[in-house]
Symmetry: C2
């Protein structure tokens, strides 16, 4: 927990093809952390589209970001285009080096991996990309939220809400996180028990695996190439 | 459940001062409903800011919306400015009249009330505005998601995610909703049990009540004035 007196600079990365709730779920929490400046940073300040078309606009460009205390890296299919993006990866590396907390949501973990930041780290990501974590030297942990030192990893998509509340508690104490949770009326009642590969009906899981097959194959190729470039020993990867 | 063959027009209302996750939580679900066109409509097509500053951009203006099959009305402090807005209220009334589903999230219920649509209806809203529902002739039901005929009401903020999954199931069947839930990895694990007035620690609830006192007083005044205009008999309202 950071002393309440210290003002925090909190920043989220926004990019074309993000899964919007990887950003907007945590936004509801991060924008309510006391004594903090929260901004969203994009490669440029121009609007981008999420993978289903929601238009989101950064507050400023990466170049205009101050040194961040808290760095939030969301995911989504657009993560693929960043895996070789020297500007974005360099920005993440520099910001992560100075941050007291780094918060990865969903396949944001792959971007952090491509930045070379996951070696030896306990981490998680979306279930469809979970088997790729070792390519970046990470130790995959099959939990919804994984805390490893300064790092918080949220698994898929809406896990970012749970992770952001954990982050708020780490930064400002449990009562601050609880107050935000009450504002958000975050007492979830999912109407089905289909939120994980373990609980989803078999037919639904099969369909889902088919629907992510192309992006998963692409992510595997990219991850192997990037991992080789990073000089990480690559174990044989098999799709889950 | 609507026949899969029928294409659906789904629309969300976006306005200045919205609570962004009232829109973006459901977006994750509504944008994945098969054989549907999902668009976000604002008074104009210009970007607006959520109550914490997130910039969101409508796809089109209200005037350019087709007749909707599904109408989604989110909430947030900006709801107050719409309670006398003849253009928005008229649009909601016309769209609701033709829709097969109307989905209200959080204080979006107050906007629907100002449009005269809640008379005799079982409804819910954010806990801080719950006591205002009878002013609009509604029967308040203290549940996270309330279904009344063609209407689905989600209580506060993140309840919109649960409500949207219910809506997806009503529109396209349980399997479609379950597949979307798996994509979203919606198997929540809130780190605290502070999401409702009943479960939050007393000190947190007290703080929260204080922090919404001004907006609640304003909402009470507005609700009484609008209810009088609608000709609804106004019972004595007391803050919760």
């Amino acid at each position: 927990m950071i002393p309440h007196g210290a003002h925090l600079q909190i920043g989220s990365l926004l990019f074309e093809g993000i899964d919007q709730i990887d950003l907007t779920g945590p936004f509801e929490v991060l924008s309510r952390i006391p004594n903090a400046t929260y901004r969203i940073y994009g490669k440029t300040a121009a609007p981008v589209r999420d993978l289903k078309g929601l238009r989101l606009t950064p507050d400023a460009s990466l170049a205009d970001a101050p040194p961040l205390d808290v760095l939030h890296v969301p995911g989504g299919y657009g993560q693929e285009a960043l895996m070789d993006d020297a500007e974005v990866l360099g920005w993440i590396r520099r910001q992560a080096a100075g941050a007291c907390s780094i918060f990865s949501v969903c396949t944001g973990a792959l971007i952090c991996g491509a930045a070379g930041l996951l070696k030896g780290r306990r981490a998680t990501t979306h279930w469809s990309a979970f088997h790729l974590l070792p390519l970046f030297g990470a130790i995959p942990v099959d939990e919804r939220v994984v805390v490893d030192g300064a790092w918080i990893f949220a698994a898929g998509v809406t896990a970012g809400i749970d992770g952001a509340l954990r982050l708020a508690a780490e930064l400002r104490g449990d009562e601050v996180a609880q107050a935000i949770q009450l504002h958000m009326v975050y007492a979830p009642e999912p109407p089905f028990n289909s939120g994980t590969p373990e609980t989803a009906p078999a037919v639904i899981l099969e369909q889902a695996r088919r629907s992510v097959r192309a992006i998963t194959a692409q992510r595997e190729q990219t991850a192997q190439r990037v991992a080789a470039k990073l000089g990480i020993a690559v174990p044989a990867a098999g799709a889950e």
